[in-house]
């Protein structure tokens, strides 16, 4: 009888716990911000322009309901550039033009900043593909905004500062990241430059690694003369561009063939799922190259990743040893904590490696952890991007940098061991470094304004 009761109670308890979990997640998304930590932050005023669906509020300076002709007449004087852009766009040139009010509404007190849903009213195929990308997980375009605001450092840092993150992550919330307003030109989005405003810089040097590859060099030499009105299919382009490979046939997704996941974490490229994806890459490369050749290039990429992760794990092991020996200074409890991270307060612990939250560990950490962050996020991703884009010089440079970083981490670790042993022999107990690490003009401001 008792067992039966327990058996009955278990599913009920499980049901209650799961519902409570859902209710908690739902509740946590109900704050002034967005995402899982929405109750911990409010948006910077400029955020409405990057995430219009959640934060844009119409300008109230002009009253009235206007027809397209009047919009154009007035804005030709105020902002002539956007009108000129629209006039030559497909929206303006069509027999049945798409006018200002079709996207923005016509009541000037309740104007709309167009979201992907607004574009999707007409561009259903593209919008459908764009939304469907979510099933391939992150990294992807469609999940970029929610992953940005759910990052602990986004919540922790002053919102004015992290607006710079939101600009690129707005690829999930607006279409004009690639199809710039008010031309919205497909031809422009097909060119590699359309991607480089976000895909450049230390963690994702897609621009340098592509432009330095044989494909990129051919594009730079001849690309201006190619016919960019052609679709991204076999035979139309002499060399592939970002969109040709990542958004093949114009499919509005970049994550659907993703095997190596940006180089962020180690993946097993030989799972059955990844084998299927690999075949898709080989098929794509064979638009121009021999299949066997393509297969070998991808094997080369696997090998490059293996070597990269050997170096990265060697560095992680060193850091984990330092953590076990309490030699990371400042210790986790002596760093400015993430304000909403109660687990971190109960059990302060240094984050080492991807699965412990390495991505956010670039500011309130010790110097040797920061060295590892840069080795992982800058050197490693540079090497990966080079390998994936067929840029051998970049691969060599990335691995040289990783080896130098590993060497620095090893040297620094042995210095820390040596220092600690000398202190022990001299019977000196290290003073907590709280004073140096917890105070300062920015550190204090951050604590008050996150």
């Amino acid at each position: 009888m008792r067992y039966r009761l327990i058996l009955l109670a278990l599913p009920v308890i499980a049901l209650l716990v799961v519902s409570a979990g859902f209710a908690y997640v739902h509740w946590s998304k109900g704050g002034t911000g967005t995402g899982l930590y929405s109750r911990y932050w409010s948006p910077d005023p400029v955020q409405g322009y990057w995430d219009p669906d959640n934060f844009y509020q119409s300008v109230k300076s002009v009253e009235g309901v206007f027809k397209a002709a009047l919009c154009i007449q007035c804005h030709e004087g105020i902002t002539p550039g956007i009108v000129a852009d629209w006039r030559v766009s497909r929206h303006g040139q069509s027999d049945n033009p798409v006018y200002c009010n079709d996207c923005h509404g016509n009541d000037h007190q309740h104007l709309r900043l167009p979201t992907p849903e607004v574009c999707g009213n007409c561009h259903q195929k593209q919008h459908g593909e764009f939304k469907d990308e979510a099933r391939y997980g992150f990294p992807s375009h469609v999940l970029a905004m929610e992953r940005a605001v759910d990052a602990k450092h986004f919540v922790d840092k002053p919102k004015g500062e992290v607006q710079s993150c939101i600009q690129c992550h707005s690829v999930a919330t607006k279409c004009d990241s690639c199809h710039t307003r008010h031309r919205f030109d497909a031809a422009e989005a097909r060119r590699p430059e359309a991607c480089i405003t976000c895909h450049s810089g230390p963690p994702h040097p897609d621009d340098e690694t592509y432009f330095g590859s044989a494909h990129g060099r051919l594009y730079l030499a001849e690309g201006d003369d190619w016919d960019w009105s052609k679709p991204l299919t076999k035979g139309n382009y002499k060399a592939p561009t970002c969109a040709y490979c990542h958004m093949d046939s114009g499919r509005h997704q970049v994550a659907h063939k993703s095997v190596w996941k940006f180089g962020l974490r180690e993946v097993n490229p030989h799972t059955s799922k990844n084998q299927v994806l690999r075949k898709k890459w080989i098929k794509l490369c064979s638009d121009c190259h021999d299949q066997e050749q393509a297969r070998q290039w991808l094997t080369g990429l696997d090998q490059e990743r293996k070597q990269a992760w050997q170096k990265l794990y060697a560095a992680e092991d060193i850091l984990k040893d330092l953590r076990n020996d309490n030699l990371l200074q400042p210790a986790a409890g002596e760093r400015p904590p993430y304000p909403m991270d109660w687990m971190d307060r109960l059990w302060p612990r240094e984050r080492i490696g991807f699965f412990e939250g390495q991505a956010s560990a670039f500011y309130n950490v010790s110097a040797i952890e920061r060295d590892y962050f840069e080795m992982w996020y800058f050197d490693n991703l540079g090497a990966y991007k080079s390998a994936a884009h067929g840029n051998q010089a970049g691969v060599e440079s990335g691995h040289r940098k990783m080896a130098a970083s590993l060497d620095r981490i090893e040297t620094r670790a042995s210095e820390l061991y040596h220092l600690s042993e000398t202190e022990q022999r001299a019977e000196i107990t290290p003073e907590p470094s709280h004073e140096i690490w917890m105070k300062g003009a920015y550190t204090d401001y951050n604590r008050k304004h996150n």
Partner: protein, 267 residues
């Protein structure tokens, strides 16, 4: 007779005007030889024609700081001198590195690069003629030969230039956020400076290099904000400043530990 005299008086009264007009027309229509001209020749002729422009140049950074000559931007040929100077390439040959890269990877830079072939570079640097602003559109707006983006021109001038394409509120909000980003970068700079100045005795060897990094990364935030380059605001800017602060603290705290050890030994 009277009529003739009157005519004479009238014609004489108009004569200076007619002469002036003729002289000006001749000046405007005068075929300028293709060049090249010396710097003195450019300045002499244009002081007569565009005194304001020459004054702007004389007071601006190209004359006072870098001593850039007219031909550095305008080239040797008079025919396409305006077009040549309006293009980004005439600036980026000197303004290399982060100043140029932060712009060329921005959306303005990208659009300008892709439109370069279709763009009519004869057009004046005014709203409506350029799909995206190049260097000259913002910094030499409407042909102003000073720097229209220089801090001493004031925020109103920048607001006005950007508002040629963007809505006034959008520009205001972007500027306000830019100011907040810079204020935050300045707090990081102040934090670093204050940490370094707290070391009264022998400074760790790495500090001068770390100070240089701080200043460069703060400059990157400014370039990122000015050129609307997210990557310079962020990866080349704010988190790089965070890294500098970590390394400054690390250097100071290690030197303190070593000092204690040394003190202990001397005892």
């Amino acid at each position: 007779m009277i009529k003739t005299s009157a005519c004479r008086v009238i014609s004489f009264a108009w004569l200076p005007g007619i002469l002036c007009l003729a002289a000006h027309t001749a000046l405007a229509e005068q075929q300028v030889p293709p060049g090249p001209f010396t710097e003195t020749e450019c300045i002499t002729c244009h002081t007569e024609r565009d005194p304001v422009l020459v004054k702007q140049w004389r007071e601006g950074p190209h004359s006072t700081v870098s001593k850039t000559e007219c031909s550095s931007c305008h080239g040797d040929s008079h025919e396409d001198s305006g077009m040549r100077a309006r293009r980004d390439e005439s600036c980026s040959s000197c303004h290399e590195g982060p100043a140029s890269h932060s712009y060329s990877t921005s959306k303005h830079g990208v659009i300008n690069r892709l439109e370069a072939g279709r763009q009519d570079w004869q057009k004046p640097l005014q709203p409506g003629y350029y799909r995206a602003p190049g260097c000259s559109y913002c910094h030499l707006h409407n042909g102003d030969h000073g720097d229209t983006m220089a801090p001493d021109r004031g925020p109103e001038v920048r607001q006005w230039i950007c508002s040629g394409c963007h809505s006034p509120r959008y520009v205001r909000e972007q500027f306000a956020n830019g100011k907040r980003q810079l204020a935050i970068a300045d707090l990081k700079l102040a934090e670093g400076e204050s940490l370094m100045s707290s070391v009264t005795e022998t400074q760790p060897d790495v500090l001068p290099k770390l100070r240089q990094n701080l200043i460069q990364h703060r400059e990157n935030v400014l370039l990122g904000v000015g050129h609307q380059s997210p990557d310079y605001q962020w990866w080349h800017g704010q988190p790089a400043l965070d890294g500098d602060l970590i390394r400054i603290r690390d250097a100071i705290s290690e030197s303190q530990r070593r000092k204690r050890l040394l003190g202990n030994r001397e005892e």
